[in-house]
């Protein structure tokens, strides 16, 4: 049917198809994730990405043509990042009460996570773009991708690193805390939010509200810290 073919060619040149496909893939992924009982290994972002990647490859559609429509979704990341100020404000009282311990342990943990990741991939011969892309991997995705983009990294790669970090952190956090005898819920939440952002925090929230509140605080604060720290580390390491 030449009519259908023409319609397909027409759709590929406009934003409607990419935008619709993104929203549909997201809903399918959310449904699958709910069916899996929101298990630690299942992640709607990863599922939606997989669906779309397979669809692009199967139909021979270029990423550029897909992004023509998907950019409208992506644009909302900016205002969403700004909106993170609202949950951060709710955590300000918690923060003021333990300001020094929070700042000191987060600076140490945040620096250790970013620097060790950068040094390991650099030592194993990864190119600069990968070293930059992995640096903000402990931070919540909108901020991580922004940092990566600004410094000449690959934001898509950063998005994958952030997801993998979160999924690993969510799975390992509780047994690891048991091993290290980190029993304080405030310390657990802060560490999960600092090292593995929202995905690990969501897992700890199932155990304790206190841990969840400290995790939420750490996500926002670490976003700010990393945004300041990583450009300096990149300049220092990669000159």
């Amino acid at each position: 049917m030449p009519g259908l073919y023409h319609a397909w060619v027409y759709l590929q040149s406009g934003p409607l198809l990419g935008l619709t496909a993104t929203l549909l893939a997201w809903q399918a992924a959310s449904w699958l994730d709910a069916r899996a009982g929101h298990a630690g290994w299942s992640n709607p972002i990863m599922l939606a990405m997989a669906i779309l990647v397979v669809a692009l490859i199967a139909t021979g559609t270029s990423y550029r043509s897909y992004f023509n429509g998907a950019q409208y979704v992506q644009f909302l990341l900016g205002p969403a990042t700004v909106a993170l100020a609202v949950p951060m404000y709710a955590n300000l009282a918690t923060m003021r009460r333990n300001l020094l311990p929070i700042l000191a342990s987060m600076i140490a943990g945040s620096l250790a996570a970013a620097l060790s990741a950068m040094l390991i991939v650099a030592a194993l011969g990864a190119p600069h773009a990968v070293v930059i892309s992995i640096a903000p991997k402990s931070v919540t995705t909108p901020i991580a991708m922004g940092i990566s983009q600004d410094l000449g990294g690959l934001p898509a790669l950063t998005a994958i690193f952030v997801l993998l970090t979160g999924i690993f952190g969510a799975a390992i956090a509780l047994p690891f805390f048991r091993l290290l005898r980190v029993r304080d819920r405030r310390a657990q939440g802060l560490a999960a939010g600092t090292a593995a952002h929202g995905i690990a925090t969501a897992r700890l929230l199932l155990e304790s509200d206190t841990a969840g509140a400290f995790g939420g605080l750490a996500i926002g604060l670490n976003g700010l810290m990393t945004a300041v720290m990583v450009p300096l580390l990149v300049r220092w390491l990669l000159g």
Partner: protein
């Protein structure tokens, strides 16, 4: 909703102007976040409209990452070429971050009392 969205965009816009004008390599929206946080402190909290708009945006935060994530189709080669380095760096750095933050926080909270 329009008013709250305008405020969010305005903060992002000002944040981007600050980032560009000063040449500081921090994403504009992060400056925007700080501006909004300062505003919330000055006004002692978000109004209901801003609260619900922010919640609405953040509830579907995952969706907003998908387009950039799909960009991985163009990076499969880089990913494959550096798979070993990545497979070692991600778990080790995450464990270090968890251990150092958690142990330091627990120690400091104990010593504060």
């Amino acid at each position: 909703m329009v008013r709250a969205l305008s405020l969010l965009l305005l903060c992002q816009l000002l944040g981007t102007v600050i980032a560009r004008a000063t040449g500081v390599p921090i994403p504009g929206p992060v400056f925007g976040l700080v501006l909004l946080l300062a505003l919330l402190v000055a006004r002692s909290g978000p109004d209901p409209e801003l609260h619900s708009t922010a919640q609405g945006l953040l509830r579907h935060l995952g969706l907003l990452f998908v387009p950039a994530g799909v960009g991985v189709v163009n990076e499969l080669g880089v990913l494959r070429a550096n798979a070993l380095a990545i497979a070692i760096a991600l778990p080790i750095s995450t464990l270090l971050g968890l251990a150092i933050t958690g142990l330091a926080m627990q120690l400091l909270l104990r010593s504060e009392r």
